[in-house]
Amino acid sequence: MKARVHVTLKPGVLDPQGAAVRHSLGSLGFEGVEKVRQGKVIELELAETDKDKATKTVTDMCEKLLANTVIENYSVEIL
């Protein structure tokens, strides 16, 4: 079973990398990009076959390591 975790900065947390990407898009001529927020995607291959158990385990992984919940939100997708 595969799981995909999206980690994004919480709303309101300054994202200087996103701001730099937005600036660069502007200099390439892409107009009208008002905001860019950068995050990360983590893909996991799990031995678990039960979807609910996998969701629970991956959520636990996010809380303990994959995301820093002080500044980041996460979402878990079971594929």
């Binding site: 300054l14 200087p16 730099a20 303990k64 390591l65 994959l66 820093n68 002080v70 500044i71």
Partner: protein, 225 residues
């Protein structure tokens, strides 16, 4: 003072930290170096230092992997029992990731790695780390980091201010840190995390002594038998 320095793969200020601690603690009690795979700490330690560097290549987030290494469980227990812990630069990042200090250290606002001397104001002298400074004293200490932009929610910032837990502030904020924060103390004032490197400016041969009072403060307070 019995001190130990934790070493992770990618730590690079561990020897400097040990030299700085040895200088004040006396060479008859040399600072112990502890590899991150150890699970237990030696008996009788007064203070543990988490050094600067790029532990685990800064993978995932700075300090994130180191904060979950076997030795850090013992360091967290040590701190929770009232032990003294000093984290510098990457060590500060490890301390926030391990939950011993609140908030997080994010990418510098200008996205650049900053390596230069910065001026700090000593904001609190009420700790074993800062008692040999005077409140409001201006000191110059080097910084060398890419992720030193301190971030915390409004309640945490208020608590840090109300409880006099901001130890050092930048006088000319280099990295976008909230409230110019360069270093903070835990609620029991026994854990200090700071981005600037006091161990890099504690000898005239290094260009100054402004970092040394931090180590002298510790040695004076933590006299062991």
């Amino acid at each position: 003072m019995r001190a130990a320095v934790i070493q992770f793969p990618g730590s690079n200020c561990d020897r400097d930290m040990a030299v700085a601690l040895d200088k004040v603690s006396g060479h008859n009690k040399p600072t112990q170096m502890i590899w991150h795979k150890e699970s237990a700490l030696p008996e009788g330690l007064d203070v543990i230092a988490i050094p600067g560097g790029f532990s685990f290549g800064d993978y995932l987030r700075c300090g994130a992997i180191a904060a979950r290494s076997p030795i850090m469980r013992s360091v967290v227990d040590f701190a929770n029992k009232g032990g003294f812990v000093l984290g510098v630069c990457n060590g500060f990042q490890v301390l926030t990731e391990s939950g011993l200090l609140p908030g997080a250290l994010m990418r510098n606002a200008q996205l650049k790695f900053i390596c230069k001397d910065v001026e700090l104001e000593v904001a609190s002298t009420d700790s074993v780390f800062t008692s040999h400074y005077t409140k409001g004293q201006k000191i110059t200490v080097p910084v060398a980091h890419h992720e030193g932009n301190y971030n915390a929610d409004a309640n945490t910032l208020k608590a840090l201010k109300d409880q006099d837990r901001v130890a050092f502030r930048y006088t000319n904020n280099p990295n976008g840190a909230m409230d110019d924060i360069a270093g903070i103390l835990s609620e029991n004032r026994r854990v200090l995390g700071m981005m600037p490197h006091p161990e890099r400016l504690n000898d005239p041969l290094l260009g100054g002594m402004d970092g040394n009072p931090l180590f002298e403060s510790m040695a004076a307070a933590l006299v062991s038998a």
